[in-house]
């Protein structure tokens, strides 16, 4: 690895209102290096990258780009075109591809002049072919992107960046949607690309892959750079402590004997309009004192499975039994009545009514109970009292009970939902991606609450893409692939990874 820097960020700062999102962050990136940028949510990673791309105007600081000949140039700030021209490319966590266009069109998109009359496709094909050969990133070019697998789409996304002749590539959580095997392949490709002089910044939450594939790790916390270590000297514990400032405490799972089944799905089949909305012949049972983990890459039927258990979707055939009794009328209010607590996957869309107040969101599943209403009129005092009780019990912090719930941070929205779910002391808890997008502290809180509920005798279904979470919390693990559930006999990353990719482990 050569050691000349290609990018120097010097004292970049940015404040939003009263929040110091980035506090004088300085960072160097060397040629041919993979630099991992780690930090909890809200640590300033995205803010920093947005300043690099010119999306945000920094309050102070400079960005210097050093070209191949060693000439240092100061990058004009707050100007995306200048950043692109300087050879900075970004692959976003959420794909920015046009699904109805083929891969080649997507790659060429944005690199052609608007008024150009003829498109030179063959030249583009040659160029893409060369990039594919050099990097090993292969994806079919003549298929509509919507028909590609997630892994292929991501490769298209990276090819699109490389096509613009980037020298510095930023990858934002590139493995969030990949199987472990696909992720490993991606990192091989990245390593190949860095040999050709590309420098990579990659943002991730997953300590394991950061340790395995980066050369250097920079850790951000509360908008400050709190540490920078060479990956060789680092270990998970060290980095986690840097990120959070202390060791995270997830209480250990105590051995406990599972009881009678609380939820049984009996040959549940849902024929949705597309494959991702269908499940076929799903059988499962969750017992008291048990956490059943369901692993899988998103889009394999988790959402529709969760919707069926939540009462949002009626099964085409099959039965849902709670406490041994078949639920005849499947709708959310009935499911809630029978003692099922649901933590929805998309907490902003399904979890809260953003415009209504925090206090109102806390009672939204409780409207028929005598606690907060009598004869159809709401008891304001009881609602406010409930809100202040739950806020302190579940540590929900925000601008107050009357503020619209949308003003809460993601972690606090999740705590609000947890408060609602756990206060009803449910027999069964359905937790669908409960820690997605949460910082380590909030995620640990969710995990502890689930373990507490298990201790108290609830059955828990934990649907998650995060294998570490599944492995650390579950008593039993099943894997969902292509709408089918299979039990995982061995609980380790490799065999689960293979099952998630649809191969028989």
């Amino acid at each position: 690895m050569t050691s000349s820097p290609v990018l120097i960020l010097n004292g970049l700062s940015k404040t939003f209102g009263s929040v110091q999102a980035a506090d004088s962050i300085s960072l160097e990136l060397f040629r041919g290096e993979v630099l991992a940028l780690l930090g909890e949510n809200g640590a300033g990673k995205t803010t920093l990258m947005n300043m690099l791309f010119g999306h945000y105007m920094p309050d102070g600081g400079t960005i210097d780009i050093i070209d191949d000949s060693g000439y240092t140039e100061s990058l004009p700030l707050g100007n995306p075109q200048a950043s692109i021209a300087a050879g900075i490319g970004m692959v976003h966590q959420h794909f920015t591809l046009a699904e109805n266009l083929d891969a080649l069109d997507n790659i060429m998109l944005g690199s052609e002049k608007f008024l150009k009359i003829r498109r030179n496709k063959s030249q583009a094909v040659q160029k893409v072919q060369k990039i594919m050969n050099d990097s090993g990133l292969v994806a079919p070019m003549d298929v509509a992107v919507g028909k590609l697998t997630v892994g292929e789409r991501q490769r298209v996304e990276i090819l699109k960046a490389l096509y613009q002749d980037v020298k510095i590539l930023v990858l934002d959580e590139p493995t969030a949607v990949l199987t472990p095997q696909e992720a490993d392949k991606l990192f091989e490709n990245i390593t190949a690309m860095t040999r050709n002089g590309l420098s990579v910044i990659f943002i991730s939450h997953k300590l394991r892959e950061v340790l395995a594939f980066s050369n250097r790790i920079a850790v951000l916390r509360h908008g400050k750079k709190v540490g920078e270590i060479s990956s060789k000297e680092a270990n998970e514990r060290k980095i986690a402590r840097l990120m959070v400032g202390e060791d995270t405490k997830i209480s250990l799972r105590k051995k406990i004997k599972a009881g009678a089944p609380v939820l049984e799905l009996d040959n549940l089949t849902i024929s949705g309009s597309s494959k991702r909305e269908s499940i076929s012949n799903v059988n499962l049972s969750v017992k008291k004192h048990e956490i059943l983990g369901i692993a899988g890459i998103s889009g394999n039927g988790q959402t529709v499975l969760a919707n069926a258990i939540s009462g949002l979707v009626k099964p085409s055939s099959g039965k849902i039994k709670i406490d041994g009794k078949t639920i005849t009328s499947i709708d959310p209010s009935n499911i809630i009545q029978t003692g099922v607590g649901r933590i929805p996957e998309d907490r902003h869309k399904d979890g809260i009514v953003g415009q209504m107040s925090v206090a109102e969101n806390m009672i939204i599943e409780d409207l028929n109970s005598g606690k907060i209403q009598s004869r159809g009129l709401l008891d304001r005092e009881a609602i406010m009292q409930n809100c202040s009780d739950l806020s302190s019990k579940y540590d929900v912090r925000g601008p107050g009970p009357n503020a619209p719930a949308r003003l809460l941070s993601g972690g606090n929205i999740q705590k609000l939902i947890l408060a609602r779910v756990f206060e009803a002391s449910p027999k069964l808890i359905l937790a669908n991606q409960p820690t997605r997008g949460l910082d380590l502290g909030a995620a640990a809180d969710v995990a502890n609450r689930l373990l507490e509920a298990r201790q108290r005798g609830s059955g828990v279904i934990l649907i998650s893409e995060d294998l570490d979470e599944i492995l650390s919390l579950s008593d039993r693990i099943m894997v969902i692939y292509d709408g089918k559930l299979r039990t995982a006999e061995t609980h380790n990353r490799e065999s689960l990874g293979l099952m998630m990719a649809g191969e028989v482990a």
Binding site: G17, G78, P332, N334, I335, V353, M356, E360, G376, L407
Partner: protein, 356 residues
């Protein structure tokens, strides 16, 4: 460069200030065509004010005009709160008016304390039917209620013309397409002697107060707001979405029907096909101007009625067209919509130059 960013919290100044400011800006903007028409602007507005506040009669006329607007404004506001886009208040108004005319012109002979509630009940029920049908089409088959309610207006108006030429036609009406007069004991009592303002106004204000209370304090209002703000979360939380939408349709239709009852049995005394100069559509503006708040509807109905009544008298005094009223009303709506944008977003100046 200017960037647009969402505001964190809606400040109270904006939610009250925007409509009031919009009304003023609309009046200022309307002075431009007024000036083009060759009328002295200030004097014209003084005439306009006189037309509303100049005499007890003028003021009562404004109240008379505001009454149906309050009903149709409430009809729109409640439905819109549930994101149920009822554009059919005009049709529902005529359904209510037809029911009132059918019951009140001699079908039933009863003293006022029986006949009046009957007329109101049937009028509201007829309006409800006019809104529940499109709502059912929406909840059952996903038919867009904007299209169905809007088109139903035309169907109902043609049906009205048929009724006025047929079953409801006044045999003593010298061939005019109008109904027989409502019986005296079927008329809503007037509020002031020798003035046209009638007790429909009181009913409208009471309806607004009840609606305001129910929205804020009742479980039904809670469900309505939840469904309107985020239907996914509402459904997830076990709120029966379709039932809530249907209940909103029922009440919205009833209020629009009540507008028709109040015009027939409060003001005109008989039914004609020009009973409403678009009260149903103006109700939408009233509701939007009020920010969908029921109490706000009362105030914005008074404002819009003032503009209409005032512009009439201005046009008589100054010799300018009374269409200026439409102009003021529509510019004020545009200003509110633009103002609503500014209350949700803020403009941030960003410089393209590097650091200073």
């Amino acid at each position: 460069m200017i960037r647009i960013e969402p505001r964190n919290a809606n400040s109270a100044i904006f939610s009250y200030g925007v409509p009031i400011l919009s009304a003023f800006i609309a009046l200022i903007l309307a002075s431009i065509p007024l000036w083009f028409a060759g009328a002295p602007v200030l004097i014209s507005y003084v005439e306009m004010a006189k037309g509303v506040f100049g005499s007890k009669f003028a003021f009562s006329e404004m109240l008379t005009r505001a009454t149906p607007l309050m009903f149709t404004g409430l009809a729109a506001a409640l439905a819109f709160r549930a994101k149920l886009w009822n554009i059919g208040a005009e049709g529902q108004l005529y359904l209510g008016a037809m029911a009132a005319a059918a019951i009140g012109t001699g079908l039933i002979e009863a003293p006022a304390f029986i006949l009046l509630p009957l007329i109101i009940a049937f009028g509201c029920a007829a309006g409800s039917v006019g809104m529940v049908v499109p709502a059912l089409l929406k909840t059952r088959y996903g038919a867009d209620e904007v299209v169905t309610t809007l088109l139903l207006n035309f169907i109902i108006i043609i049906f009205l013309q048929y009724m006025l030429e047929g079953p409801l036609k006044d045999p003593m009406g010298l061939g005019w397409p109008q109904s027989s007069p409502i019986l005296d004991q079927g008329m809503l009592p007037p509020l002031m002697e020798r003035m046209r303002v009638h007790s429909g106004l009181v009913i409208a204000i009471v309806c607004a107060l009840i609606a305001q209370f129910m929205l804020a304090r009742s479980v039904w209002g809670f469900k309505l707001r939840a469904v309107g703000e985020n239907v996914f979360a509402a459904r997830h939380a076990g709120i029966k979405v379709n039932r809530t939408i249907l209940s909103a349709a029922l009440i919205s239709g009833a209020l629009a029907g009540m507008a028709g009852v109040s015009e027939v049995a409060g003001l005109k005394g008989y039914l004609t096909s020009d009973l409403s100069p678009g009260f149903g559509y103006v109700g939408i503006i009233v509701a939007m101007l009020a920010g969908l708040s029921p109490i706000g509807v009362v105030i914005s109905a008074l404002f819009i009625a003032s503009v209409f009544v005032g512009a009439d008298s201005m046009s008589r005094a100054m010799g300018v067209s009374s269409y200026l009223a439409d102009l003021v009303v529509s510019t004020s709506l545009l200003c509110v919509l633009i103002g609503g944008f500014f209350s949700r977003f803020k403009m941030v100046r960003t410089s393209l130059k590097g650091q200073n």
